[in-house]
Amino acid sequence: MNGAGSPSRHERRAIVLVLGAGPAAAVSTRLVDGVVMAIATFVVLAGVSLLLPLVRRGIQRDDAVGPGPTAPPAVLWGALLISSCLTALVELALNALMPAESARLGIYVPLIAVSMLTMGRVDELALCPSPARALAPTLGVGAAYAALLVIVALAREVLGSGTITLGRTTSLGILADDPARAFGLAAGALICLGYLAAALRLLPGSRARSDGGER
């Protein structure tokens, strides 16, 4: 916290990441859940990055981007509307194509609309002059989030259930006899996310390494 009591820039970034990781912790108990959630989030992210720059000029009263690094309120509302519509479409498609999986994911598919991972991108998307300039970084963010979900889901299912479920369920022998059920709970998800974050910080060229290991 800075001296004024409001969150600092680093704390806001941490808040965005934690909230974005919430659905990851909730749904990543099986590999197939993680894969489906990753695809759904990726589709919504890509849609928002394509449509928001197109409609931004119509939402804003003038061509000015707006004061400071944050998007104007009208653009934020527009982003939320676009995100909600795309999420509804994704949910309907999931319900039609994979009804059992849709029922399993439950409320977390609609929550993509307000996922901070989506909304955290709004400021940057609002500054992009064209959809092409917005799509490239969004694809990277979406791919990273998808990878995170898949890795965490795989680890949690292997350790917490002793199985791998992707199309069909494969039992992993001794791990399936008496698995560590803590990994199927939220605490297990946070442990996996923590170690994944630590592993990413060890990668050469990571931001944590370049800024002196700042948390």
Partner: protein
Amino acid sequence: MAERSREARLLQAPAPHSRTSLSTPVLAWIVAASLVPALAWGIALFGLPAALVCGTALVAAVLAEALTTIPFGRFTLADGSAVLTGLLVGMFMPAGVPLGIPAAASFFGLVVVKQTFGGLGRNWMNPAVGGVLFALVSWSVSMTHWVALPGGLAVPPLESLRAALAAGTSAGGPLSALNAGGYVFSAVDAAVVGWVNAHLPSFLGAGLQRGTFDVLVGIVVGPTGAVSAPLLAAGAVLLASRGIIRWEIPVAYLGVFVILVLLLGGPAAGRPLHPGGALFQLLSGSLILGAFYAATDPVTSPLVRTGRWAYGVALGALTFLLRSFGSVGDGVVASIALGNTLVPLIDRATVPSRPGARGRARPELPPGGAA
């Protein structure tokens, strides 16, 4: 000449200026040694399975410490912390638990709870508590694999009491409930209680109940190292007398717990107040082991006396709540884990920013948060 000799007696040196022979490794080894009598009692009671469980936990803890330090150029096994963690994990375990579970618990405690956060002195949760809690949550059924004692004692008294209360066979106190429910106490208990009731006057008009000796001494089914309250308490008194553990924590912990049992234990279970329930609850489960050895970990307990009192009060209340309404073991390990998460807040509220300052003074944090 006089001035020169005065200067020679002035010694300039950096902190610390107060030194003691009780270094961190010495403290850890002393605490580990104080656990040995209670551990030996548990192994004598439950036999080879208990020895295997404790041995597995110990070996796994040492291996985990070695694997996470030696490849990185550090050797920390000599500080005794890994041995102490392994001992505590084994002592919190039932004697009949599959051997993979104490190994996993020790490994989790050492690697995830301790080494991940920087090693000894940097963990925010007691490693043994974290490991045992992980085992309780992951393998809740296997963590109730008790070893029966000769004579038919096969279930811990606390679990039997819950069953007896649920069946409605309770009258007059926990031991009465257990007796009415058919709980089998040892022949030694029968002999001692019978002799006392026959030869010693009863000032209250009622004799000792069957089971009193068993519960007092520790001839009951329970966690391997937690059944013998007298041996644990004796070790703890020795540690407290040397200042190795802070007495405020167990006194506040057990005091608040007893008060809550006396005030609320009966009505919460739908029965009138059980005056004898407090002693029974105190000696049941792993409360004594947790209060004296896990909650008093100097790394994960508050820094100042006021904070330690608050911490003990919180632990007592949490243990009462979790034991009465929870589903994870007897509530001790979970409440200590929860209490550990409160310690930074307690320290923030109680530690003065300047030594000797009166009252609470919030320490000034550097920009960007604590380092």
